[in-house]
Amino acid sequence: MTKEKDEKKGTTITIPTQLAEKIQQRIKGTEFASVSAYVSYVLSEVLSGLEEESGEEFSKEDEERVKDRLRSLGYLD
């Protein structure tokens, strides 16, 4: 897999043509407008799952800690 910089939106990933064709077939009639949109969604889901497993998720406890700090700084009531 190779990647190169994309000026507007981060990074362009190159995937095998056969895989792209399979995805193209799969997304027909779905809400996904492009192969890129589908791949981004799938990879985000995979990474989210991995982060949850490794305790990297922004948990409720994390959120309360952040909110407490924001209150102490006057950014939140």
């Binding site: 981060g10 969604y41 985000s44 922004f58 994390d62 959120e63 700090r69 102490s72 700084l73 006057g74």
Partner: protein, 191 residues
């Protein structure tokens, strides 16, 4: 020449990560920004906070009643946690990042506290930062430019040009923007 009036432009990032300085830079460049004077400048932000609603904009966002329509075509400041409550509209966001220990040092100084659970706090803010970047970068309605505060201070000219390119065609006064990068504000630098 006007910036796109159909877009909401935001400056964001964790609190104390250089968001106020970025608002000053944009203002110096002649770019429309909106803020109120309800939170005056102080020793922590000597040039002002550049915030709306006295810095309590997050409350309004959480209640879903912030009038984004009113601020299209101009930059406003919404710090990182508030981005979790953005509506499904078109946004261009300049997202500030800074060494997290510097951010926490500055927060503690401003709140006049000594955090006894500093490492836990650090991890919580790190996770928030990652969550925001990950979620917003994949949204089709959002364009995000990440600017590292520490890098900006080292090479203002390069980053200012990146910011101008991100905003789009406009009569920027880039020299005035560069001039704003005042190293005296970098008080808690750790090298």
């Amino acid at each position: 020449m006007k910036i796109d009036q159909s877009i909401n432009y935001l400056v964001s990032g964790l609190e104390r990560s250089g968001t106020s300085m970025m608002m000053q830079i944009l203002a110096a460049g002649g770019i429309p920004i909106a803020y109120s004077e309800s939170r005056p400048a102080d020793e922590h932000n000597p040039k002002g906070y550049y915030e709306l609603e006295g810095g309590k904009i997050i409350n309004t966002l959480m209640q879903g009643r912030f009038p984004f329509e009113k601020y299209k075509g101009q930059f406003i400041k919404i710090t990182a946690y508030g981005l979790l409550y953005l509506p499904q509209e078109k946004f261009k966001i300049i997202y500030m990042e800074r060494n997290l220990d510097e951010v926490l040092d500055s927060m503690e100084k401003m709140a006049r506290i000594k955090d006894q659970d500093r490492e836990e706090t650090k991890q919580s803010f790190r996770k928030l930062n990652e969550k925001i970047k990950k979620e917003l970068q994949t949204k089709q309605n959002i364009d995000m430019l990440r600017i590292n505060y520490n890098d900006l201070l080292k090479d203002a000219t390069t980053h200012i040009h990146n910011i101008c390119r991100f905003i789009g065609p406009y009569h920027f006064d880039t020299q005035k923007m560069v001039d704003v990068v005042d190293t005296q504000l970098y008080r808690q630098r750790r090298q």
